[in-house]
């Protein structure tokens, strides 16, 4: 996903000299193709995320489209006020890119787990929030935000994600993508956890349970229409995210459902308002914290039995 982002940005930046990539001293190897081909549209701002973010705002106000790049919580929580006051409040064309949403850097420990970033970024007015579920979505979002006026947050996985969508026709900011239709349960997923949702759906289907699946590459603005349609036609809505259930994607869906009564119940799957204290890779931690395909399927079976 990281490489797809870089590849897409290279082709965009070649066509638009206003595009700038500023890294907080991360992306060894990964950003090489970018800075070798576009040396004048690249900056390493050092290990100084606060300066990087205000700097990007200043550059954006001078006409640049600036992508700031770092990993985990460094481009968001470390410089939250710079995003709020300097980027969002000024409607600056800054695109904050995080590599490593959720447990991507699993074994590195809690400092490197981005598990509250969606909630925090979603709470800022004038920040659009994106979490691609596969390589197709990553490519489409990168193109879309490069042409979007204003501040964006792009939360990427890292590598090894699959291309799950065959193709995305007419990608639009704020529109959920319908992956399949069933009648028993509707599953909404955002970000790279989509691959676990795919596994969960297979398990459920083997047990005769049919699923409607939407991915939400845009968490903000949220596709309220898709949520309400599913809430009218299904008994159970399930949200999946590699993130705390408080305030994030599941929280956003809960806000919509609370204000629009329907027949559907809601179950949020994600981190249960806790920090990860276990050590292991992304797959391992997803399972330990109840977000593996099997655990997702089991939670749904438990709910609908």
């Amino acid at each position: 996903m990281r490489d797809t982002f870089v590849k897409t940005l290279i082709s965009l930046a070649k066509e638009d000299e206003k595009i700038e990539l500023v890294t907080g001293d991360l992306g060894f190897g990964v950003l090489k193709p970018y800075f070798e081909q576009l040396p004048n549209q690249f900056t390493n701002a050092g290990i100084a995320e606060q300066n990087m973010t205000s700097l990007a705002a200043g550059m954006a106000l001078e006409g640049k489209t600036v992508f700031t790049y770092s990993i985990g919580n460094f481009p968001t929580l470390r410089c939250l006020e710079q995003i709020r006051n300097d980027c969002a409040y000024h409607n600056a064309n800054v695109k904050i890119v995080c590599v490593g949403g959720g447990f991507v850097y699993g074994s590195l420990g809690m400092s490197h787990h981005a598990t509250e970033d969606i909630a925090v970024m979603r709470a800022l007015p004038d920040v659009a929030v994106f979490a691609p579920g596969d390589l197709c979505e990553a490519e489409e979002i990168t193109k879309a935000i490069a042409n979007y006026e204003g501040t964006c947050y792009l939360r990427l996985g890292r590598g090894g994600e699959k291309r799950i969508h065959k193709e995305i026709k007419n990608f639009q900011i704020g529109k959920a993508i319908n992956v399949k239709n069933g009648k028993d349960v509707a599953i909404f997923s955002t970000g790279a956890i989509f691959e676990e949702v795919e596994i969960a759906c297979q398990i459920l289907e083997e047990k005769g349970i049919t699923t409607t699946v939407y991915t939400f590459p845009t968490v903000k603005p949220l596709d309220v229409k898709a949520i309400l349609e599913c809430a009218d036609s299904h008994d159970l809505i399930v949200t999946c995210e590699e993130h705390n259930v408080v305030g994030g994607f599941g929280g956003a869906v809960a806000e919509v459902m609370a204000e629009n009564p329907s027949k559907a119940r809601l179950m949020r799957i994600g981190m249960s308002d806790e920090y990860c204290v276990k050590v292991g890779n992304q797959k391992y931690l997803r399972n330990e914290y109840g977000m593996s395909g099997e655990k997702i399927a089991n939670k749904i079976l438990e709910k609908i039995k």
Binding site: N40, A48, Q50, G58, M59, L61, E62, K64
Partner: protein, 311 residues
């Protein structure tokens, strides 16, 4: 307008605006007034009829709590009516206590310290990349230099040789609760900037000639420049000078307001008209016996920890 005249008007507006609104930070407004006046009368290239002109110099008041000073400078330079200054802090006004860019002539909103130098650095960096000739000016507080982000920006601006960036530090030696030296010492302040690779000019920041010479100084290198403008907090009104009380207290109706205006009128340039009290104050209220002035209001005056003492 002559810089001395603009400085006087900034101070007079500052007294009126904080008096009417009950607003804070008159001490900082008075210390930075000369810097702002020289910038807006002699240094910055701007056009009040085209505030977004691409060739203008960019300016950020990073110590956004002295917002009244930039509002006054802009109004006196035709960006909006001087009359509007009286709406400072009021319901429905465009003039928030801290600097807002929702006002013609303001390039960047501030208020949280430690942001302005980074934003100015981004503006200067973009201008340098695009080979544009304008400069970027930013005014910081000395207390603001407690913020680590200031030094992140200082590193970046030096590394990228941003010779088009000029920072001015309003070095009034005081911050929110005490003197800087009693809060978090800025030891060897000029040497710090120098060690970060900047051109450093150390001047009396309440002296217009020294300010003008500093802004005019050319360096044979492409480093960013910092002007350390040594000022006096509350400058121009003796009972406010160097007293931290006036970081927050506003000139109240009665002797405080009357004597503040009187103090300014003692040094009023002959060709300036006071827009509020053209004849000064007739029958001013006298400073009462026991008035809480010329007293030490710093934290360290009454805070005496013992953990760091021997024995």
């Amino acid at each position: 307008m002559k810089s001395e005249n603009l400085a006087w008007l900034i101070r007079r507006h500052g007294i009126e605006m904080t008096h009417l609104s009950g607003g804070s930070h008159i001490g900082a407004i008075l210390s930075v007034a000369d810097i702002m006046a020289v910038l807006y009368s002699e240094v910055l290239n701007f056009d009040c009829n085209n505030p977004k002109s691409d060739t203008r110099d960019r300016f950020i008041l990073s110590k956004g709590h002295a917002g009244a000073s930039v509002y006054a400078a802009l109004a006196e330079n035709g960006f909006f009516p001087v009359e509007e200054l009286k709406t400072h802090y009021q319901n429905g006004s465009r003039l928030s206590g801290h600097v807002s860019h929702h006002l013609p002539g303001v390039d960047f909103s501030t208020g949280s310290l430690g942001h302005g130098l980074s934003a100015a650095t981004g503006m200067a960096y973009a201008a340098k990349k695009d080979k544009k000739a304008h400069k970027v000016y930013v005014v910081l507080g000395d207390g603001e230099c407690d913020e680590g982000s200031v030094w992140e920006a200082a590193l970046f601006a030096n590394h990228n040789e941003l010779g088009n960036l000029v920072a001015v530090v309003d070095h009034n030696k005081m911050q929110s609760m005490d003197f800087c030296d009693k809060t978090m010492a800025l030891s060897n302040f000029a040497a710090k900037w120098s060690a970060f690779g900047w051109n450093v000019i150390d001047i009396n920041g309440n002296d217009h000639n020294e300010l003008k010479n500093a802004f005019n100084k050319k360096f044979e290198n492409s480093k960013p420049t910092v002007i350390i403008a040594n000022t006096i907090k509350g400058y121009g009104i003796s009972f406010m000078e160097n007293d931290i009380l006036w970081h927050y207290r506003f000139p109240h109706e009665g002797w405080e307001y009357d004597n503040a205006v009187l103090a300014l009128h003692k040094n009023k340039p002959a060709d300036v008209v006071d827009p509020y009290t053209p004849n000064g104050i007739e029958n001013p209220a006298e400073i009462p016996d026991g008035a809480d002035i010329y007293n030490d209001h710093t934290t360290s005056a009454t805070w005496h920890p013992t953990w760091n003492k021997e024995g």
